[in-house]
């Protein structure tokens, strides 16, 4: 079954001191990932950004896989990032908060993440306020849609509502009509149109003052 998974981490809500403690990051990063940080391409990346970049990739991969592996439990150190390429030209400027799969590959952090026999690919963005990731099962992100928005208020219910609203506003450009976000029996979000499940894989994320979505369309729907 086709799937999608995304995540967002608000940098303002993380505990910088704790992130730098071995007992904390060793519960997120595998030994190989701890070693990967010492590669030259990460020389200018603060360690806290590295830890939470990898966290966002792992959480996104977990969400992607959970659809097809309902019994999967999130265990970050068991989802392994194999390699990371950094954006050409460093962090660069953030041009947009909404992308589709045709965006410039080189503007993203990108790489491969594996869990047991499953391999996924990721794209991530980092700015001064957040780290966000989306994953897919191929290196191409064609027909993958991904958006991020800041919100004024926090609180779980408000964040959840804002994330759904953002997702639906993007989906409406492809599917006019009465769309709603429901929940599958396994707990992942589904898109309902006139009481029918549209079988569009979607993913939602929120943290602090930021909400995000991802979804993937069949090529015929995206034209």
């Amino acid at each position: 079954m086709k799937s999608t998974g995304n995540d967002i981490v608000a940098l303002g809500s993380i505990d910088n001191q704790r992130t730098g403690q071995f007992r904390f990051y060793s519960k997120i990063l595998s030994t190989s990932e701890q070693a990967l940080y010492h590669q030259p391409q990460f020389a200018e990346m603060p360690f806290k950004n590295y830890v939470w970049l990898l966290w966002s990739v792992k959480e996104s991969a977990y969400k992607y896989l959970k659809r097809n592996l309902p019994g999967l439990v999130f265990s970050p150190a068991k989802i392994i990032i194999q390699h990371i390429e950094i954006p050409i030209g460093g962090l660069g400027k953030l041009e947009s908060i909404q992308w589709d799969g045709n965006g410039d590959n080189q503007a993203f952090y990108r790489g491969k993440v594996v869990y047991e026999s499953y391999s996924l690919y990721f794209r991530s963005k980092i700015n001064g306020e957040w780290i966000a990731t989306v994953v897919n099962d191929t290196e191409s992100f064609e027909n993958v849609y991904w958006g991020i928005q800041s919100i004024v208020a926090t609180g779980y219910d408000h964040q959840s509502k804002e994330a759904r609203t953002l997702l639906l506003s993007r989906l409406h450009s492809f599917f006019p009509g009465n769309l709603q976000v429901g929940k599958s029996p396994l707990g992942y979000p589904v898109i309902i149109k006139d009481t029918e499940d549209m079988h569009i894989p979607v993913s939602l994320a929120h943290d602090d003052h930021f909400v995000a979505y991802s979804f993937i369309l069949d090529p015929v729907d995206s034209n």
């Binding site: 981490v9 809500s13 993380i14 505990d15 704790r18 007992r23 904390f24 519960k27 997120i28 966290w55 959480e59 439990v73 999130f74 265990s75 970050p76 150190a77 068991k78 609180g155 779980y156 707990g187 943290d207």
Partner: protein, 87 residues
């Protein structure tokens, strides 16, 4: 000294409090309570909770045990197991 499950549950509420928005829900937790689905705890705080529990009980919680701690009851199982190991 051995702690019973009820005493651990009471202490766990204090560990979970900084990461739980809904204090009323926290007051009413039981062994079936799911930390993410029921208490709406941000998944990014799960590692904080593991570390706070390690400090609270002076134990070490490995990856395999940590992944069982998404429910209060299984979290109590892990804490008791690790406390017995370090006794």
């Amino acid at each position: 000294m051995t702690m019973d499950r009820k005493a651990i549950l009471t202490e766990l509420k204090k560990v979970l409090a900084p990461y739980t928005e809904n204090k009323e829900m926290l007051d009413g937790i039981n062994e079936d309570t799911d930390l993410i689905k029921d208490l709406k705890i941000n998944s990014a705080n799960l590692v904080d909770i593991i570390i706070d529990a390690e400090s609270q009980y002076n134990i070490e919680i490995d990856f395999n045990s940590a992944e069982k701690m998404f429910k209060v009851g299984s979290g109590i199982d892990v804490i008791i197991e690790k406390m017995n190991l370090s006794a």
